[in-house]
């Protein structure tokens, strides 16, 4: 039986939150939805356009569809590459970090440093670092006899953008894994020694299984962040050379603010948003489902 007292005045307590959410999320989102189904001939006069923008966006034979398909592909490849590098590297670093003693503090601070630097500053650092005339990295690579120039060569540009992301965000994976490793009770390591397990076996049978939950979070965070990446490639390469590092967000800003094509930009925003939501939902559902199938969480 529900014997809770009902008092409609309680709605007043919820009202401030509703108003804030309305102005901060709901209204802007609905504005975008509104734009995505309308066209304009300027002078603030809009008319109904149905799903035409969406059809154009999802049809690779059109100019917009082609741009979107290319950018989406680049985004997926980029996320895949950085996950493949950052997750194993992060785990490896966390295994090497000291777990007790005075070294813990300094190590954590050093590891956290890249995370504290604002995105556009990271971009600027690498923009200069990679320059072939005054940048340490660019000059050094060229002096090795390798032709490296991120403003002219797509491979160099990709290398720079990926290296920058690895430098910026591997710490996050490492710190999350470090926290996961610290949470493993000593008894597990002691039992492994009693059982005569090798170092590799300890990693495979104790550390990796215990890191699973942390890794799910790390992969989810890194996927979302890398899929939405904007500032760093924009500062370093501006999406170039050509459109080789033009990710969806970079293109979106070009369409919305450069070309002021509100309808197309709105449609692109919504599809972009839905992709991220769908991937996160899928990822979350699959991992929680796996947990349930294996019985109660330990």
């Amino acid at each position: 039986m529900n014997d809770k007292p009902v008092n409609n005045r309680a709605w007043f307590f919820v009202l401030p939150v509703l108003i804030i959410v309305l102005f901060s999320a709901l209204l802007p989102l609905m504005t975008v939805v509104n734009y995505s189904v309308q066209d304009t001939i300027g002078q603030n006069s809009f008319f109904w356009n149905g799903a035409a923008w969406f059809r154009e966006l999802l049809d690779p034979t059109t100019d917009l569809g082609d741009r979107f398909a290319g950018a989406l592909q680049r985004n997926l490849v980029f996320s895949f590459i950085i996950l493949i590098i950052e997750v194993p590297l992060g785990i490896a670093i966390s295994l090497c970090m000291p777990r007790s003693g005075w070294k813990v503090g300094p190590t954590l601070v050093i590891m956290a440093l890249p995370l504290l630097i604002p995105w556009n500053v990271v971009g600027t650092i690498w923009q200069i670092f990679g320059r072939i005339d005054i940048g340490l990295l660019g000059y050094f690579i060229n002096s090795l006899g390798i032709d490296y120039n991120y403003t002219g060569d797509a491979a160099s540009a990709w290398f720079t953008v990926v290296a920058m992301d690895v430098w910026h965000w591997t710490s996050l994976v490492a710190l999350l894994c470090f926290a996961g490793l610290k949470a493993i009770p000593d008894a597990y390591y002691q039992a492994a020694r009693i059982d005569g397990a090798s170092r590799l076996s300890v990693f495979r049978n104790i550390e990796l299984p215990k890191l699973r939950r942390v890794l799910v979070i790390a992969i989810l965070l890194r996927f979302m962040d890398s899929f939405m990446i904007y500032t760093e490639p924009f500062v370093v390469t501006g999406g170039g050379p050509g459109n080789s590092t033009t990710f969806i967000s970079v293109d979106l800003v070009k369409i919305a603010l450069g070309e002021f094509d509100l309808g197309r930009a709105a449609a692109l925003s919504l599809v972009y948003n839905i992709i991220i939501l769908a991937v996160c939902w899928l990822f979350f559902t699959v991992t929680t489902h796996l947990d349930q199938r294996e019985g109660r969480p330990s």
């Binding site: 009693i194 005569g196 294996e294």
Partner: protein, 360 residues
């Protein structure tokens, strides 16, 4: 492998060894004999686990030598010693099945597959794990997980000793008793040295052939359960073993007489003079029998607790509270009564250690 010798083993976790207070384990000599079941009994923080970890090699002692037979293994790493250890909380390998968990210590030592399978089957049979053998270990209950941990401790046939660090803490009381009898059966069947850490005296007394009582990093007494009960060498042993513990009465001793307050008690032996040292008389409640007023020493009965099997009277002997047994046929007494001490059961403790009197 026949025995494990502790030769002056001591350990301090921090600070310089040498200062008495820094020792988690004070210098200790002891020989653990093959085929015996020992219980390490003592309150929390008395150094039981430290001692266990030193034997298994998880902790390297700050002083002393550890010998397996005649071989010095003090600095030998854990995996090179033939020691199995079971911890207080279940440790299982999440990703493996129960069978793989049990096989893990054997697989790491490169035993042939057929031998591993036979051994796993045998141990699973003893611990009732056979129906679960092919299940993933991570979905099981805490009980079952701890049984797996026990199984991994017992699965190796070549071990010098199996060490248990309060292994039944997480087990249901009912199952606890059953598992303990199983361990005892395994011990009899496999004839291995077992050392069992616990702070539960019932567990210690029912499991072990020899009980080692520890307090504050030192061993107070090693003996059979009967020894500990009948001749506690230290007041702490008297107090810690038995429920309720031994009665301890402050006394002054002269020759073969003890004086408690204003009362005089006849002793079995003659004692030298202990000047400036604390003397106490110890008598177990089981051996102090309540009697009619006028018999034995005069006491005032305060309260009688009926424990079903036995009735215990809380009485005042002069100014000192003590516990005595009420005989079966006696009606519940109130007020003045007498108390009789069974002959030969009264112990004299000087500075907390038992002293034997010279024959009178």
């Amino acid at each position: 492998m026949s025995r494990i010798t502790l030769d002056g083993i001591a350990h301090a976790y921090r600070g310089t060894a040498g200062k008495q207070d820094d020792y988690a384990l004070k210098p200790l000599h002891h020989v653990w004999e093959q085929g015996m079941a020992y219980a390490l009994l003592g309150p929390s923080g008395c150094g039981k686990t430290t001692l266990l970890n030193i034997i298994s090699g998880l902790v390297t002692p700050s002083e002393g030598r550890l010998l397996f037979d005649e071989k010095d293994v003090t600095r030998l790493p854990t995996e090179k010693r033939n020691i199995a250890q079971v911890f207080q909380f279940p440790v299982i390998y999440d990703t493996m099945t129960v069978a793989e968990n049990l096989a893990f210590p054997l697989k790491n030592r490169g035993l042939p597959r057929a031998q591993i399978e036979a051994r796993v089957k045998e141990i699973a049979g003893i611990l009732d794990l056979t129906p679960d053998l092919n299940r993933r270990a991570r979905g099981l209950t805490a009980d079952a997980k701890q049984k797996i941990s026990l199984g991994r401790g017992l699965v190796r046939a070549d071990v010098s000793a199996v060490l248990f660090d309060e292994p039944l803490t997480v087990i249901d009381p009912g199952l606890k008793w059953e598992l303990r009898s199983k361990l005892k059966a395994v011990h009899r069947a496999l004839d291995m040295l077992m050392i069992y850490v616990t702070h539960d005296q019932v567990e210690a007394l029912t499991f072990a052939d020899r009980v080692v009582v520890m307090k504050d990093g030192s061993v107070l007494q090693v003996g059979t359960p009967l020894d500990l009960f009948e001749r506690p060498e230290h007041t702490f042993v008297g107090y810690f073993i038995g429920s309720p513990g031994m009665n301890l009465l402050p006394a002054t001793i002269t020759g073969n007489r003890a004086r408690v307050g204003t009362l005089e008690i006849q002793l079995d032996g003659t004692y030298p003079n202990f000047i400036d040292r604390t003397a106490q008389l110890g008598i177990r409640p089981d051996h102090a029998i309540l009697a009619a007023p006028g018999q034995g020493l005069p006491v005032q009965v305060q309260r009688v607790d009926d424990l079903g099997r036995v009735r215990l009277a809380r009485v005042m002997l002069g100014n000192h509270p003590m516990v005595a047994t009420v005989p079966q046929d006696m009606s519940v007494p109130v007020g003045a009564a007498g108390v009789l001490f069974e002959p030969g059961r009264l112990h004299v403790y000087i500075d907390e250690r038992r002293v034997e009197g010279a024959a009178a």
